[in-house]
Symmetry: C2
Subunit: 549 residues, 2 copies
Amino acid sequence: MTILANSATDMSTKSIRALYDELITRRKDISHFKSIASTLGWDQQVMMPKKAEDSRANQIGLLNGTIHDMETSPVLGAILEELERRKLTEDLSVELNPYELANIRLTRRYFKQGTLVPTELVKASSAATARSCNAWKEARECSDFSKFAPFLEEQIRHLRETITYQMKGGICEEAVRINMKARTNLGLSKDDECFKGYYQALLDNFESGFKDSRLEAIFSDLKQNLIPLIAKIKAKNFQHENEFIKGDFDVEKQAEFSNKFPKQMGFDMDAGRLDVSTHPFCNNAHPTDIRLTTRYALDNFQEGITSTIHETGHALYEQGRSKEYVDTPVSLPLSVGIHESQSLIWERMVELSKPFWTYSLPLLKEQFADHKNLQDVTVDQMYLAFNRVEPTFIRLEADEVTYPMHIILRYEIEKALVEGDIQVADVPALWNAKMKEYLGLDVTEDRLGCLQDIHWSIGITGYFPTYTLGSIYAIQIYTQAQEQIPNLDEHIAKGEFHVLKEWLNKNVHEQGSLKESGDDLVFDLTGKYLDSSLYVKYLTEKYTTIYDL
Amino acid sequence: MTILANSATDMSTKSIRALYDELITRRKDISHFKSIASTLGWDQQVMMPKKAEDSRANQIGLLNGTIHDMETSPVLGAILEELERRKLTEDLSVELNPYELANIRLTRRYFKQGTLVPTELVKASSAATARSCNAWKEARECSDFSKFAPFLEEQIRHLRETITYQMKGGICEEAVRINMKARTNLGLSKDDECFKGYYQALLDNFESGFKDSRLEAIFSDLKQNLIPLIAKIKAKNFQHENEFIKGDFDVEKQAEFSNKFPKQMGFDMDAGRLDVSTHPFCNNAHPTDIRLTTRYALDNFQEGITSTIHETGHALYEQGRSKEYVDTPVSLPLSVGIHESQSLIWERMVELSKPFWTYSLPLLKEQFADHKNLQDVTVDQMYLAFNRVEPTFIRLEADEVTYPMHIILRYEIEKALVEGDIQVADVPALWNAKMKEYLGLDVTEDRLGCLQDIHWSIGITGYFPTYTLGSIYAIQIYTQAQEQIPNLDEHIAKGEFHVLKEWLNKNVHEQGSLKESGDDLVFDLTGKYLDSSLYVKYLTEKYTTIYDL
């Protein structure tokens, strides 16, 4: 047992290989505990009896505490320190390959993340989060942002304190750079309060290594191009028919239809499961144990198949992780944005395409032979029905054209909040003004506006951009796949989805966290850093045709 | 986090209450980890995809190692030692109630069990067990005991070494006493090899505090009475009809029928689950999270309902554990035998009774209205069909009269093996001779004889007697229930099973491990220690009537 062996022996006599091996032994135990936590998380959503809530909370609390202790154990610290020292006199890459070097880099990051913030602050903000989440639920219930406002203020205060510790401790280098520059520009001393760069630090939690300045440029480009595109579509005042998607669809038959796709996409049913839950998700216990869930609407089949395909995209990433480096950090998914790209490639690039419906429409008609109005639908009609653009108040219901505007709006507000450019009380008015500007909608209730998402209430700030980064990664990676896989569209039209899955396995999944950022991954894969112009071009061309603009 | 905090502070300045609280904090964390292991065990049997086997083995290995480290941590040792020291000058029962004192007693026992045996021996015997289990499977496949024999020898050697360490370390007091007495009688020195009393030590692992000498007396009584009873029944050469139990029973309809019983017996579906698995079992994660499984035969309904009712008996024990002392050792079930009694009370005392079928037969007929030959069956006929006695080679298929003989046979052989009275090579011949003597059967294949059970191959020796202790506990406890619950039979005939469940909750389940042995529990409850004459009387009277002897 390693977890209780915390007395550091003399590290200086050990070889680099021996130090690395000791580090990996510890990381593997951490990985096993994290797998357990993931399986229990799945169980909680899908299987657990409701009275077990308290007992499960105790188990998860103990597991997370144990994982934290192991990630920040003094012996791990001594190993990392010794490896840093060796770097001064030796070239580690003589002994260790790039995957192994990445394992050291990531272990150091987790160690610092775990040790820099005082335990009292972690506890205080976790207690505040529980209160805040409840307050948000109540505020949303009565659609009154003012009831949530003081809790949001506390969350932001805790976030800022946390980041301050992290920046002082030597992580978030880019955030520190931005902050220093701002202080110089504003003539502030190091004791003056200044939160510039803090958003960069938050972004690092979810999209490590991605620069906020790049995000700003990308979002500015999207605004410039998508706002007019959305306005043009709206001005057409025309919609494609989608009545045949709706109706009374038997859940068992929907499941039978949807469940074909995970298998055909290459999801290994012997290394995972497919179940139903209120909120669809995909766990990440272990590449040999990936469990996705879906849900079905009773009045349409679109939600069921779309959830299934989306979560299968996530699941393929998890199942496709490196076998050679299993249970070590480098085998983990690179970032939240890259993870989202893997689900969106399948949900948007594939499921929303004509080749997909060339294959799937006959299956659908066969499965729902009793739905008379489905039988005469053509592939083109299905394509148009699945690709309707309709501005909506609710992010989760948005189509691929309007979705980025929901994200940009949240990004602008959360960044201004964290960096101190606006006050919490300003949020509703600002939200509603942006909704009008970006999507032409008048928000009449906070419930449909700034109270719709849980994220801020539980301290998840800096996450929203990854949804749109995911969309752009998806386009860029898929475009590359189309160039490299001969006749990809024809394969998809024949249901031969595995060719795409295998390409993604090799080019994305197996890479794990070898690269330092999603930007680096797409650069190495496509020769270009993340490129919003490709995304703008895709949306503009596709929807100019669809809506005959 | 407590699990890494292992530096003992000065214990001598702490109050007894403070020492106890510190002990309990540690025990609760151990309990949370054990709950996790139990849930993962259930998951493995019921939900886990097959390729996850290796990953799950890593998780379980790490969890068990962590639990072992926590149960034997030096701080816990220091607390226990300090409490021992205080006993010399203070009366602990002034500060602590009997439940709390039991928690200290049990914590000491686990600590000693975990620390007395060297880690190398634990590892060696766990590796040997894996090899031995495989060898047993292969030997059973080709029905050749000689292929398993060397592995069984190794298992016995490891068991003896383990017990030697435990006896030297001051647990197994009764075993030490037996051993000393035998040495004196045989004129052996303390350096001579002598394994007398070793079976007592094994028994303690499953039926703590129960004396092997009592077991011998009980089994001798059973042999004397049951062998002639079985012979008489056999001599009648007559069987009651049971054709209506067989046939093509739809699994969904069987499930619908069987699933009524757990609820009606008082199983809380919000604090547990009911699923299907190859081998029915009941987990013990937490009183709020008890998951039982069952299985259905396609060609009869008896197996499904019997498995469900049996496992529900176990589940009610687990759900009924003390809420006040939840997550501490005293809330745990008392022994394997008492656990078995809780399933057998429901399976044999209730399900095999006429009142049960008075209530259930109409439900059965309604559920299987398409089974014409069921419709005219009377309660008496169903009672006779469910209570057929038929000697069989296989323990798992045995009825309540012949079952004890299967156990006694195994007890006699495993005890003689461990204590050195016979050699491994003697097992098949001895098995077959006893089978002939006890049940009148000629064993023609090891597969149907000494190779049928997995227990010895995985080092589980000393466990078999608990099956029969469970049957006797069941009779004795149920007889007491009948005396104390007015009109129990009438309640059961109306499906009012909850009256029995509530009585068991109070008199058995909530008691947990407060008593030191099952014998103590039944004494306090019924005024008599475990009493085989009651069991003999029950079987003799019941089957004399059934077979008109």
